[in-house]
Symmetry: C2
Subunit: 187 residues, 2 copies
Amino acid sequence: MSLPHAILTALLEKPSSGLELTRRFDRSIGYFWSATHQQIYRELGRLEGEGLIRALPAEQPARGQKKSYEVLPAGRAELARWTAASQDPKPQRDVLLLRLRAAAVVGTEGIEADLRRHLTLHQKQLAEYREIEERDFGAGKDSVQDRLQYLVLRAGIDLETFWIHWLTQALEDFGTLPAQEGPPGSA
Amino acid sequence: MSLPHAILTALLEKPSSGLELTRRFDRSIGYFWSATHQQIYRELGRLEGEGLIRALPAEQPARGQKKSYEVLPAGRAELARWTAASQDPKPQRDVLLLRLRAAAVVGTEGIEADLRRHLTLHQKQLAEYREIEERDFGAGKDSVQDRLQYLVLRAGIDLETFWIHWLTQALEDFGTLPAQEGPPGSA
DNA sequence: GTCCACATGTAACTGGTTACATGATTGG
DNA sequence: CCAATCATGTAACCAGTTACATGTGGAC
């Protein structure tokens, strides 16, 4: 139950149409809560039905016409409630770690190339975060909002840094592995 | 499409029944790919139907009777194929970061306590990993399988360390924040 | 014999993904 | 007028979650 709250947050930052939201999800909020346009339209419909948001201006009919939304007081209240409510962290899910564990059983063939690919992807992502850091968090940005958003960005930067570090280590380790398909008795 | 492969890996490590798998998922594999018993039974049924695994011994009828499975050659082949196949990392999803971003808009009330709670949870998890490290990866464990599994554990340890570090920093930061409900013009 | 833990399952629901449909606007 | 792009949506599917159902075997 997080997508509606992600949307409420985005709409409070700036009233938007479905497609505008989709684009903003591809940039900022989407870095830690991605969503496709289909999800977003579905959720906008629900939120409007629940009276948490409303379509903005002059009556626009339906298809092809832009339709912007803004958050109603009830929506802001719901977001505040959700933000303050205690939530357990749900366990990590990581396919790459799973694959490594599988590789311990069926052999490491082919996985090294993908580790390398992931490494460059994470490097790219880190570079993107660094750019945002320089562009949006230079001097003079220390309102409460800025500081909170910077905290979130720091998490992104540090996570990418962790992955780059771990993948580098893993690849070094692979370099010293004896070539093999799987453990004795595999097939 | 990762759960079936997680199960294949676990069954290759050791043939098991549904409940045994569930318990093992709560311990080792579940640290980065959790699953409930309902998911596991459903998936075991599918895998058996596809001829990737088979029920082990003497005919046991159905309910209440333990039923163990082992992986068939086709299952091992499918796991090897999946392990070697390139896969994109899917974007992080993290509710806590989302909440922080929401807090920048609707106010930080209540969230600090939960940050503290998360901090102790991550500290507990790290301690658990450290125990596993000492117990299972002391001296003399340097077969290829051991080294791969250790790499996975290292990822877990480093991730928990990252979170502990980040949460500590965030809480320090919160200490210096002026008390407030939300940005000017909130309600 | 009753209760509890072990063990296997079914059903309904929710959220995310993929594929596709449809209309409006604009540049050539 | 045609293609590309902007924009909103529908439908079907799949994986994960929650709640519940059912049977076995051992402890008391």
